[in-house]
Amino acid sequence: MGDVAVPARVDEPGDERSTARRARLVTYGAVGALLAAALVQVDVWPLTAMRLFSNVRTDHGASTSLVAVGLDGSRTDLRPAGGAILATTSHLFDDLERADDARAREMVHAWLDLAGVDPAGVDRVVLEKATWVMAPDTGARHETGREVVAEVRP
């Protein structure tokens, strides 16, 4: 399975210099961009600080939930009702705290729509933050506190 005889090198001298310049620019540029993003903690996809599971986990934790409170006082947790798309956008829940009224209403309407909840029957949507402790033997989470951190009227 021998190959045919081949030329050992196919470079021209000038060609080599420009190729080496490009090689350095691309390689050192890419490595530099990766290092800079990590150093200044930038997360602008696809540039990232590469923080994958970098925080220490303990038996304590916190979770947020977005709850639609109906005119009759009924509560609907929007995250499980909203399917995969709502689940992927759940990291935006925290933005409700900082958003102005118009933006908050716009986001809440979008989540209600994804969850199939009619805004006309909703009195308010509340963002709740719950803290919990996990039992090491059973893995059960015991809630230790819950507070409303944002409230939006749709």
């Binding site: 399975m1 021998g2 190959d3 045919v4 005889a5 081949v6 030329p7 050992a8 090198r9 196919v10 470079d11 060609d15 080599e16 190729t19 080496a20 490009r22 090689a23 350095r24 691309v26 390689t27 890419a30 490595v31 990766l34 290092l35 990590a38 997360d43 602008v44 996809w45 696809p46 540039l47 990232t48 600080a49 590469m50 923080r51 994958l52 599971f53 970098s54 925080n55 220490v56 986990r57 303990t58 038996d59 934790g61 798309i85 992927t88 956008t89 759940s90 990291h91 935006l92 933005d95 716009e106 986001m107 309407h109 979008a110 989540w111 729509d113 994804l114 996990m134 090491p136 893995g139």
Partner: protein, 313 residues
């Protein structure tokens, strides 16, 4: 005219010479950097670049073909995050998303069969980057496709050997792209380890951290599986230490030719265990690391394609 008094002479401040070890360390660092640079731009055989180029294209093709990208169309505009490289792209209907997917997969096939491979790879990479970027524009930063996109970005600048180029022909043009891809993989893995140390210290590996990660994860094999590992003395610490060591030593393991294939295998084992314990799919990282490290670690040329035609003079 007035006579001016001579200014008093101020003795020049003496700068202490750097200690000898400092000079030696500086010289060693400069020498290592020069050697690294020389290795980067050394000539390389055509077959290595062909394999890395084709295999990374295959990873892109696999990612493009195996995901239902039309789910992006169901996301309301109000819940889209635009602070990324695809933030300027308008929301696309499902038909356009499928169109990008089909064009991307066709381009991958063309790149692999080496029909205008450079342009075909660029088209595939753009389709993949746009779709993956749009997919990840929902608030949570998704790392799943980051390694493939970054390695692919480097290979965009590679001059891919044509069909008529014999596999063993060497050129500076074909040497640097696989090495640049290798450098990107090394830096990415190393940074994931460095960030763990930076934000959590050695406690990340030596404390109960991994046990709690396992207990709080969602395994495809059920909670009993992860709880069994979490409750086994020292096993979580062993897994965490192994993962951290692998990440931190990635630059060394990928620098040395004979440890590149073992690195790819170790990365596969690590990400498979993450999937088994936490249900997180990092298969693109595994495949990309293998696509780069394995051809660069093989001491011999794979038997396919068997022979190349003589390059035109």
């Amino acid at each position: 005219m007035t006579a001016t008094a001579p200014e008093p002479t101020v003795p020049e401040p003496t700068v202490p010479a750097p200690p000898a070890w400092h000079r030696r360390a500086g010289a060693a660092v400069r020498g290592a950097a020069r050697r690294l640079d020389a290795r980067l731009v050394a000539p390389g055989p055509a077959w290595r670049l062909r394999w890395v180029h084709a295999l990374v294209a295959c990873v892109i093709g696999l990612r493009l073909a195996t995901r239902d990208w039309t789910q992006i169309a169901a996301r309301p505009d109000a819940l889209r995050v635009r602070a990324n490289v695809v933030g300027w792209i308008p929301d696309l209907p499902a038909a356009a998303l499928v169109g990008l997917q089909v064009v991307g997969v066709v381009a991958v096939v063309l790149a692999v069969v080496r029909w205008r491979p450079r342009a075909a790879f660029a088209v595939a990479w753009v389709c993949y980057t746009v779709l993956a970027g749009l997919w990840g524009s929902s608030g949570k930063f998704l790392h799943n496709d980051v390694l493939t996109v970054t390695v692919g970005a480097v290979l965009l600048f590679a001059a891919v050997p044509g069909r008529g180029t014999p596999p063993r022909a060497t050129s500076v043009r074909w040497g640097w792209p696989p090495r640049a891809a290798l450098a990107v993989v090394a830096v990415v893995y190393c940074l994931t380890g460095v960030q763990k140390l930076r934000h959590s210290g050695l406690g990340w590996a030596l404390s109960d951290n991994m046990a709690w990660v396992l207990r709080q994860g969602t395994s495809p094999f059920g909670p009993a599986f992860t709880h069994a590992i979490a409750d086994t003395p020292w096993l979580p610490q062993l897994l965490a230490t192994g993962a951290l060591c692998l990440e931190l030593t990635a630059p060394i393991l990928l620098f040395v030719a004979w440890t590149r294939v073992p690195f790819a295998l170790a990365v596969a084992a690590m990400h498979t265990s993450i999937w088994a314990c936490l249900g997180l799919d990092y298969s693109a990282w595994v495949l990309t690391a293998a696509a780069v490290a394995v051809p660069m670690g093989l001491p011999w040329r794979p038997p396919w394609p068997r022979r190349g035609r003589v390059a035109p003079a």
